[in-house]
């Protein structure tokens, strides 16, 4: 029994990593080696040519910068506005509070296809097509329900006496929020920020719709739409390199923050 279950876990870990490893190997192969039948496992003559092509002939650096700016700004806008609302929501009682929480939960379950066209109309009217803010604002709004939900739960854990003591010491509501509540809730704020960052980095449908200029694309959109100059000429090596290069930041994030990410996911599920 023990041995079998260990084997199953091992097999699943292998299955999780194998296709990524395959792409890492493919990204180091030359174009001629990539089209060998049957394919080789390890690159015979490892080369960085695919990465060079990706970074020099494509806008890959631009994609990365765009994604980073959009994801970082979304985290900031979303967590800032969510924490203000959650701070008051955590101290509210009664039907208004349950109504707000139920509304947020309902909205969080709406498929993204609901929003894509009407938001596109708004973004176009505001002149924000092909502009980072055209994605930052919708991404912030779509992540708000989850962020408010997560932060309300965490703010509720902070003893109310601390806020009362701050008020007696003459601090305003906002000063109390900034100097007492925020420092105590930092772990939850980081969790909300990271999950929002990952969502924005990964989002595809809105990016596909709102961005149509190469230099404004995000990494996710860029990798999904990499293709050759001719339809027949599919740059497999560059695609493999793109898959790996776009995954590295996320894998690093997982390695550093895995505890916080799991905490955020399960907190969302338990409450």
């Amino acid at each position: 029994m023990k041995g079998l279950s260990r084997l199953f876990v091992l097999a699943c870990c292998f299955a999780a990593l194998a296709p990524i490893a395959w792409h890492a190997m493919s990204s180091l192969k030359s174009a001629s080696e990539l089209t060998l039948v049957p394919p080789t496992l390890l690159p015979q003559h490892p080369t960085l040519a695919n990465y060079e092509a990706l970074f020099q002939r494509r806008h890959f650096i631009r994609y990365c910068i765009n994604s980073f700016v959009i994801a970082a700004m979304t985290s900031l806008v979303c967590v800032a506005s969510a924490s203000l609302a959650a701070h008051r929501l955590a101290r509210m009682r009664g039907t208004v509070r349950s109504a707000i929480r139920l509304g947020l939960l309902t909205v969080a379950f709406f498929p993204p296809i609901v929003f894509v066209f009407p938001v596109y109309e708004l973004i176009r009217a505001a002149g924000l097509v092909n502009h980072p803010w055209g994605l930052i604002l919708p991404y912030s709004a779509l992540n708000l329900p989850f962020a408010i939900w997560l932060l309300t739960g965490s703010f509720e854990q902070i003893p109310y006496e601390l806020e009362e003591a701050a008020a007696i010491d003459g601090l305003s509501r906002f000063q109390t929020f900034r100097t007492v509540v925020v420092p105590l809730a930092t772990p939850a704020l980081i969790t909300a920020g990271i999950l929002t960052f990952v969502f924005s980095w990964n989002e595809f449908m809105f990016a596909l719709t709102f961005l149509n200029v190469e230099s404004e694309k995000t990494v996710t959109l860029g990798v999904a739409t990499l293709s050759g100059a001719f339809a027949e000429e599919i740059p497999y090596g560059q695609i493999a390199a793109g898959v790996i290069a776009s995954s590295v930041p996320l894998i690093l994030l997982v390695l550093i923050f895995q505890r916080r990410i799991v905490a955020g996911l399960t907190a969302g599920a338990v409450k």
Partner: protein, 296 residues
Amino acid sequence: MKKPSRSFVRELSWFVPAAVLLLALVVYPVLRTIGLSFFHKNLLTGFNSQFAGLENFARIITDSRFGSSLWVTVLFTLISVTVEFGVGLLLALCASSLRQWRTAVRVILLIPWTLPTAVIAVLWAWMLNDQYGGVNAVLLRVGLIHSPVTWLAEPATAMAAVVFADVWKTAPFVFLILYAGLQNIPRELYDAIEVDGGGAWAGFRYVTWPHLLPFTFVALIFRIVQAFAVFDLIWVMTGGGPGGSTETLSVYTYRTYMRYLDFGYGAASVVTTVVILALIAGGLYRLVVTKYERAF
């Protein structure tokens, strides 16, 4: 009329940034979509709105492509959610019996879930390439197949391929939720079962399962809603093909909006999709709540 007190206004101001974002970019779009679904707004009307009453909804009923994409969506959701719950539950049970390497297992399994779905679609499309892909190479070597399979070119295998890629990404999510649930079960309960002469199965049936149920339910609803809305994976991996055999509701609706520029009809299919989804989620909620109450 009483003037709102200053403290009430000040209280409200905490909600202004979140409320503005939500009203403009979530609530308004929902209302706009509902409104639009009662109008014709497409190439034929010169993109002017013409009142249509229920004509868009009548068209949905007779639209065989809508029917087939609804069927594809239901099939995709059903198979992939079932498989990923099977795998996720088994994995959570197996992993919780481990003594070492728990963190490593969690980190490794978190990776597929964190990668962008659109990139995962690219990754699996290349793995499943008939000539140069890794999957055929391994299957040929092992002898399970004798000639390369063109996975994404046949309706049945294309469906299996998108389901497989979805399971690869989301079984880890189910695992993480259920694994967290398992950690919350007090050890003593298993000891009690053992004292009463129960075996491993009794432990699962009377301790593990009732404790996991709330976790399972939340993860299940969440995954059903997500799978029902699947877009990125299909758009990038198969584009809905071959011959519409993997075209889901989101993919069809996106085409209606952005390719056929039929905004009124697109809005009507969004409304219909959400209503169907709400019925499924509501029905499931009913089912589980009644069952859940009986279990205790």
